[in-house]
């Protein structure tokens, strides 16, 4: 079903993909899931997900509505914990550690695994306070240090030049695209190593979208990025690997369960997919 090999890394240069192998004593993937399934009460929303997410790559989850892509994404930062009745089965490993181990604190996980949401959600506070919130929680108190973190986060999110003169202004006054970049900067400010993005551009216009896609390419050097998108072209443009999900109708209950169909290098998924369902989706025969 899915083809992945943690000893393979791909690099993109000038549109060409070259493969190199690393020795066997190797890199543990950032995330590894084994037979992951998520239940809401009795309803199984998604099943049998097996993926390896590698560091410094952008992985895209694509598929039709209701196939569980966001649900799976939210497993990686334990946001599903917040939903009453949600249950995760199977294994999710983060740098080799069981993410759902009882000794693992979800709050710490969420610092390291940041999330950007579909609708930008800046706090109704100043731009400065939006960014300083996370670092302050982690014990950074001195104004000098906070200033530095705010500036560097905004620079890395390509927002500094636009807001450097009005850091005390309300974040709600920014445009949609700016707000989303603010949210990305807010994640960056707590020095995560993964950034999850749940359809981050679906509420934005094409120009703002393009800027965020460029941003993603810049920051992928420092962060592992997983993006859920139902814009296939976006997935083809930005990601290194792509996972295609679809829904299956459960004959007894007539409800749809999400399932992972194929997971491979983006090039392969879009040019020569292994599964016919993948092919049907990416060629637009169904959506």
């Amino acid at each position: 079903m899915s083809v992945h090999d943690s000893s393979l890394t791909s690099t993109r240069q000038n549109g060409e993909v070259s493969m190199s192998t690393t020795p066997e004593t190797e890199k543990v993937p950032v995330f590894r899931t084994r037979d992951l399934a998520v239940y809401y009460g009795d309803f199984r929303a998604v099943r049998d997900v097996n993926v390896d997410i590698n560091g410094q790559e952008i992985t895209a989850f694509i598929g039709p509505s209701g196939c569980g892509k966001s649900t799976v994404l939210r497993c990686f930062d334990r946001m599903n914990d917040l939903i009453v009745g949600a249950r995760v089965e199977g294994k999710v490993e983060y740098h080799g550690i069981d993410l759902y181990d009882k000794d693992v604190d979800a709050v710490e996980v969420r610092r390291r695994v940041g999330m950007v949401f579909q609708k930008p959600n800046p706090f109704p506070k100043s731009i400065y306070d939006n960014l300083a919130f996370g670092p302050r929680l982690n014990g950074v108190k001195k104004k000098g240090e906070l200033d530095a973190i705010v500036e560097s986060s905004l620079k890395r999110a390509a927002l500094w030049d636009e807001v450097k003169d009005r850091l005390k202004a309300s974040a709600m006054g920014l445009s949609g695209g700016q707000q989303q970049r603010l949210c990305i900067a807010r994640c960056i400010a707590v020095e995560p190593d993964v950034i999850l993005m749940d359809e981050p551009c679906s509420a934005l216009d094409p120009i703002a979208t393009a800027r965020i896609e460029d941003l993603m390419q810049e920051i992928k050097r420092d962060f592992t990025i997983i993006i859920v998108t139902h814009n296939m072209q976006q997935a083809a443009r930005v990601s290194d690997r792509t996972a295609f999900f679809t829904t299956e109708v459960n004959p007894e209950s007539d409800r749809r369960t999400g399932v992972l169909v194929e997971f491979d290098f983006t090039e392969k998924i879009f040019s020569n997919p292994g599964d016919e369902r993948t092919e049907a989706y990416v060629t637009g025969r169904f959506g």
Partner: protein, 315 residues
């Protein structure tokens, strides 16, 4: 059977439609109903006006004659000429402070539990139903509670029939109101704000403290002011706890002693006391006291409404 519409139907319905469209201004029955409904609102307004006019009319001798004296005299149910509301006003103020100090934090904390921590669990459902019921319990029952617990059982701590016991009884009375309004204010804060905070690695308390409570503050404030206005108008619990209705001598005791040890009264209690007195001269006293309390309550409610409008956020 043909499915076409015969001509005569076509003509008829065209006619009817024309009639309907052109005669809407002559919908007599509808207008009559609308005016009847409006009249209920006008009757309510009339009642309010009658109330105020009646109070002013009764209170006139005092309002025009000895208002200053009235406001500075103590409660005295035996002599209308000496009767005043100064102690009652002070009692109401102290009671309000106690209610603010006790009921608000407790009520807001309970609301935070219900909205932020307990969600849809069974315990939360039970507590919610319980709070809604407590909101409908007759106020005199809270008086019994106050008498038994705060005056008798905890008499050592509260000093017995003191303004502290009264304040505590009132706090329990308005607690459900605070909880319900604070819950609504918390629920109005969009989920996305909480997700944003949790998403960068904040604990639940950190999220509530830094984002949810500040956002909900205006709504909570409005609710607590309304609760205060409710507490200011209550008499039954205070009377059961032992408010003084006749004559309250405080002599030269310090404020602290008076609070912890002495008798007390409040505006609604004073009104009750004066209303009971037969004698035409007490009419003015009761009327004046009622007017003052009414103005006080309207001002507090007005403050709440102003706060609500000023800080109204559109998400």
């Amino acid at each position: 059977m043909s499915l076409t519409t015969p001509d005569r139907f076509g003509a008829q319905s065209a006619n009817e439609v024309t009639v309907r469209l052109t005669s809407s201004s002559r919908d007599v029955k509808g207008r009559a109903v609308e005016w009847t409904l409006l009249s209920t609102l006008l009757i309510s307004l009339l009642i309010l006006v009658a109330l105020i006019v009646n109070l002013v009319d009764r209170a006139w001798p005092i309002l025009s004659g000895r208002l200053g004296d009235f406001l500075s005299s103590g409660i005295d149910a035996s002599s209308a000429a000496d009767a005043g509301v100064w102690q009652a006003i002070r009692g109401t103020l102290i009671l309000s402070v106690i209610v603010a100090v006790v009921a608000f934090p407790l009520g807001i904390a309970c609301a935070v539990y219900l909205e932020e921590y307990a969600g849809k669990s069974k315990v939360a459902g039970l507590i919610r139903i319980n709070v809604r019921n407590l909101a409908g319990v007759p106020s005199i029952v809270y008086g019994i509670l106050g008498l038994t617990i705060f005056v008798k059982f905890a008499g050592g701590l509260t000093g017995g029939r003191t303004v502290i016991s009264g304040g505590l009884a009132l706090s329990v009375l308005v607690l459900p109101v605070v909880i319900i309004t604070a819950s609504e204010a918390l629920r109005a804060v969009p989920r996305s704000i909480r997700e944003g905070a949790l998403g960068v690695g904040a604990t639940q308390w950190e999220t509530v403290r830094s984002h949810v409570l500040p956002s909900a503050a205006p709504g909570i404030l409005t609710g607590t002011v309304l609760a205060l206005s409710r507490a200011a108008g209550e008499a039954a619990p205070i009377l059961l706890v032992g408010a003084v209705t006749g004559l309250l001598r405080t002599g030269n005791q310090s404020l602290w002693t008076q609070i912890t040890d002495g008798g007390f009264t409040s505006m609604p209690v004073a009104i009750f006391s004066y209303a009971r007195q037969t004698g035409a001269d007490f009419q003015a006293v009761t009327g004046a006291a009622s007017l003052i309390l009414l103005i006080l309550v309207i001002l507090i409610n007005g403050l709440a409404i102003w706060l609500r409008n000023r800080f109204e956020r559109s998400w």
